[in-house]
């Protein structure tokens, strides 16, 4: 009977091998899929049950996880939640997460590839894995200046360090209190979410990076750059500047802000930018052609859907095809041209940085729970928008805008500010968006900023970029220079 016994013993061994195989299949091969299954509450519990890393601004945590005695174990807490909501986003049991909480989730939970060794150490020492701290590039004073400058108005501010691309401030109003969404009280979280989802100005979406607006006259920087880059124009080239410009192929006309002339006709390119002369730039756009404008816009970062900071950024756009009248409108930032506030800050930053646009980023470094630096973001050139010569000419022209033109309210004593105003038409019955983008000091740029106030903010239809948006930019620039 020993032969069948041996055979049965072999069959038993095969049975156990099959079990080992199926256990491996579940726990190794299928595990990622099972862990990602939306019905798997365990993943959620585990994420909440581990100490999620903090999001840090200037050494202080603006989002952190504190131990609580409920089934999740940890509660996400936000300091100055509304102030930083455009950067941190929210982290909710029921509604998922947004912005950095989502984009840097791997680091915050400690699951990122870079944190492999720290996980291995936790495994060996039996410590509960702890997430890494995500340190942002934000400057607290600049963030506050932007937030307070916008106040109750809907809009956004983005400030960038031109030489590196570090984002020094990023504010979107209305903001929201992420604590209301992070609560483990599901019904309270649901109610807060429903309220925010229906609120005016879409507080849950960052205006600074996820919404696009007609950039209005701030786009004239791109048009001017295209003109200078073509080699056929310089700052003193003269342009026709009629009170009204008839557009070909149509009965439409383009007029100037306030309906008057531009002070001179013809006008130099520099003066046209200084007084933000629509008719001169519309004609210039038609003369350059939509291809030249599009190419120039793209070199500043338009039409790039792949940009992440590390949060996803909505692509700013220049229309793919445009006839002459459309090109004329596009040249002054109307028609289908749309830009995020971040994009307009990148335009200024590119000019400030001798024509090189740096890749913008908001995560300075990631630090593991034991404080060792896991990763450090290195500045990287995103594109070369214009030549240093063009950048220098544009800078001079922008300095003139603030010194003697439409942007005088951005003046700072003792600091040369280079800027450009914008007042973008949206629809006939709505007040225009007020824009201002600038950098300073002009000879040694430390900060580039873009300010958008939707529909003129508190100034309503009286609003211009110079009146409403420029003072906010000035406050942000001052805050950065003072820090």
């Amino acid at each position: 009977m020993n032969t069948p016994l041996r055979r049965v013993a072999t069959v038993m061994l095969v049975m156990f091998l099959a079990l080992m195989g199926s256990a491996t299949w579940v726990q190794f091969v299928q595990a990622p899929g099972l862990n990602a299954d939306s019905r798997n509450v365990r993943t959620l519990y585990r994420e909440f049950g581990n100490a999620r890393g903090p999001i840090v601004v200037a050494g202080g945590a603006v989002a952190r996880s504190v131990k609580v005695d409920d089934s999740f174990g940890y509660q996400r807490e936000y300091t100055d939640g509304e102030l930083y909501s455009a950067v941190t986003g929210f982290y909710s049991v029921v509604h998922g997460s947004s912005q950095l909480e989502r984009a840097a989730n791997d680091q915050l939970t400690g699951r990122g590839d870079q944190l492999f060794f720290s996980r291995l150490r936790d495994l060996v020492t039996g410590r509960k894995p702890e997430g890494a701290a995500v340190e942002t590039t934000l400057v607290e004073a600049a963030q506050r200046a932007a937030f307070e400058g916008l106040g109750d108005q809907q809009g956004a501010v983005v400030a960038i360090e031109p030489a590196t691309g570090r984002i020094l401030a990023m504010v979107s109003t209305p903001g929201f209190d992420p604590n209301a969404l992070a609560t483990h009280d599901v019904s309270a979280a649901n109610e807060a979410y429903a309220q925010l989802a229906e609120a005016d100005g879409n507080p849950l979406r960052s205006n600074a990076t996820l919404e696009t607006y007609p950039p209005g006259s701030t786009f004239k920087l791109v048009t001017a750059a295209a003109a200078l880059e073509s080699g056929e124009y310089d700052a003193s080239s003269t342009l026709p500047a009629p009170v009204r410009l008839d557009l070909p192929q149509t009965s439409a006309t383009i007029g100037n802000f306030g309906g008057g002339g531009c002070g001179a006709n013809p006008i130099t390119l520099a003066d046209a930018l200084r007084v933000s002369c629509n008719t001169a730039f519309a004609q210039l756009g038609m003369d350059l052609g939509d291809d030249a404008l599009r190419e120039q816009a793209q070199r500043f970062g338009f039409d790039d859907a792949s940009l992440t900071i590390p949060m996803a950024v909505a692509a700013s756009r220049f229309p793919a095809e445009a006839n002459a009248p459309q090109t004329a409108q596009s040249a002054i930032g109307q028609f289908d041209v749309a830009a995020t506030p971040l994009q307009m800050a990148m335009v200024s930053a590119g000019i400030a940085n001798d024509g090189k646009v740096m890749r913008p980023y908001v995560v300075e470094r990631v630090r593991a729970a034991n404080l060792s630096v896991v990763s450090q973001t290195e500045p990287e050139v995103l594109s070369t928008a214009v030549s240093p010569g063009t950048a220098a000419q544009l800078t001079d022209m922008m300095v003139d805008v603030v010194a003697n033109g439409s942007g005088t309210s951005a003046q700072i004593p003792g600091v040369q500010v280079a800027g450009k105003t914008g007042t973008a038409q949206t629809s006939a019955d709505a007040a225009p968006h007020a824009w201002f983008t600038a950098f300073a000091p002009a000879d040694d740029p430390q900060v580039a900023v873009a300010v958008l106030v939707e529909h003129g903010g508190s100034a309503g239809s009286e609003a211009t970029g110079g009146r409403v948006a420029a003072p906010i930019a000035r406050a942000v620039i001052q805050a950065v220079l003072a820090s």
Binding site: L13, M15, W25, R46
Partner: protein, 500 residues
């Protein structure tokens, strides 16, 4: 004329003692880690717990030294290790249930059942001096087995839990008689098949290359087949039915060495199961839940859905390679985490690594059982040990295969790990019987047996290193010369010990 070479026989009790220390360290360490994992401190009663478990294990060890000195030294430590891991996991799940305000207190009861089981195993080893005694009770065992299977159907005793009528309530204690039925039926099969193996294997018509059995030999076998199908039909217990039938087919094969029996057996069972699955919705639902487990509709189905199975898979997946660690996962998110789903619980907290280690323990345990079957000289012992070792392996396969989606899920307990008194008791008796058979198998026979007095005197129990006596009577030496041949199973010439 062959002579018996003086050779050393290791009884292995010393080895067993060291392995037991390891097993106890594993069990007590697991218990302490559960405390550390759940409340950051070692449970206050860890020393008492360790002492109690050690007393049980060492007590059984002493009984082995006394009554079965040559028993396999690996079986007991492996069993203690498995039981200890199970206790720690049940204790851990208790803590989670307590926190969630659910029924708890399983660990205490499991510890009580462990104590009862080990004491009973010791009693079996003390009272049953020779496994061949059991052969006298072949047909008694069949009747007992069938009665045990039928018990849950009795109106007052039986209770239906989750659709399966497999429980019997005696006073306040619930029992699963099927666990004991498998034991009784293993004894019956061993006794019956060893008597009828030749007629089953050789007599009867041949058909299509298969040796068909004679009708009169088939009778008792058909009774048992009908019994296990009846379990499936009337008690809605696919697991037990599958378990018994697996045991039955395996032992038939062991006895007859005819693959035809396996083919016939499988055909009968598959036929029965297919009919059952089309007639009985719960069996069909099991198949649905197995094949389309991730389907949202089946996942959410209230009865016969795959929710429990998939939640178990989620648990195992979140454990990954190394697990969350004792007390740091969420095994309590699966219903019956402490019993039917203890394997996913262990998979979650100990990871794939831990689960593979546990499966290896089962491999060692069951292969040592088969080793005893191969080593023992009488046909009844071979069949009994082979059948018992197989049924442990088969039960593991059905349970673990079920929760890992290798085969459809059936409600069975994982031997030694899962919560449940009947299961623990029955499996400890299986271990006691395997130890008993292995003692016979590893005894330095035939030489030593020939000179053995009625009782091995304490001084005669060989030390690990002591040489076997070389003084061999002529008759025993002659028997030794024919050691390659199996002794006549039908007419055992040796003394058969009775129940003392």
């Amino acid at each position: 004329m062959a002579t018996v070479e003086p050779h050393r026989v290791r009884a292995g009790r010393g080895v067993e003692l060291w392995l037991l220390v390891l097993a106890l360290a594993l069990a007590v360490g697991a218990y302490a880690l559960v405390g550390l994992g759940t409340s950051d401190e070692v449970p206050a009663d860890v020393l008492g717990y360790g002492a109690g478990l050690a007393a049980l294990a060492l007590g059984l060890h002493v009984v082995l030294r006394w009554r079965a000195p040559y028993a396999d030294p690996v079986i007991l430590p492996v069993t203690i290790a498995l039981n200890g891991i199970g206790l720690a996991m049940i204790y851990r799940i208790d803590i989670a249930y307590e926190g969630a305000g659910k029924d708890h207190g399983f660990a205490g009861r499991q510890l009580l059942w462990t104590t009862i089981s080990v004491v009973l195993a010791a009693a079996v080893l003390i009272c049953l001096r020779d496994h061949r005694t059991l052969r006298r009770y072949t047909y008694t065992a069949m009747v007992v087995g069938l009665v045990l299977l039928g018990l849950p159907l009795l109106p007052v005793l039986g209770t239906s839990i989750n659709g399966a009528r497999i429980w019997v309530n005696v006073g306040s204690v619930g029992m699963q008689p099927a666990e004991f039925a498998k034991l009784a039926l293993a004894v019956f099969f061993a006794g019956y098949l060893v008597t009828h193996r030749d007629t089953l294997a050789l007599a009867g018509p041949r058909f299509a290359g298969l040796q068909l059995p004679r009708a009169r030999d088939l009778g008792p076998i058909l009774v048992v087949w009908a019994g296990s199908i009846a379990v499936l039909v009337f008690e809605r217990d696919l697991g037990t039915s599958l378990l018994l039938f697996g045991l039955f087919v395996a032992m038939l094969y062991l006895a007859t060495e005819r693959v035809s029996w396996v083919v016939i057996g499988l055909a009968m069972f598959v036929g029965g199961a297919v009919v059952a699955s089309s007639v009985f919705s719960h069996v069909g639902a099991r198949f649905d839940a197995w094949l389309h487990a991730m389907d949202p509709e089946i996942f959410d189905r209230m009865y016969g859905g795959s929710g429990q199975l998939v939640r178990g898979l989620f648990g195992m997946a979140s454990g990954g390679l190394f697990g969350t660690g004792w007390g740091q996962g969420r095994p309590d998110l699966v219903t019956y985490a402490e019993s039917d789903f203890i394997v996913p619980s262990l998979g979650e907290e100990l990871g794939l690594t831990g689960l593979l280690a546990i499966l290896m323990l089962y491999v060692v345990l069951t292969q040592r059982g088969m080793r005893a079957a191969i080593g023992v000289r009488d046909g009844f012992g071979k069949l009994l040990a082979g059948g018992l070792a197989f049924v442990v392996a088969w039960q593991c396969f059905v349970v673990v295969g079920g929760v890992t989606r290798l085969i459809p899920l059936t409600g069975l307990t994982t031997p030694f790990l899962a919560y449940g008194g009947s299961s623990l008791l029955a499996n400890w008796i299986i271990v006691a019987l395997l130890l008993r058979v292995s003692d016979d198998a590893r005894r330095p026979a035939p030489a030593a047996r020939g000179v053995r007095a009625d009782e091995p005197l304490p001084g005669e129990v060989p030390d690990d290193d002591a040489p076997v006596p070389t003084r061999v009577p002529a008759a025993a030496a002659a028997q030794g010369a024919s050691a390659g041949a199996e002794p006549d199973d039908e007419h055992p010439t040796e003394r058969i010990g009775g129940l003392s």
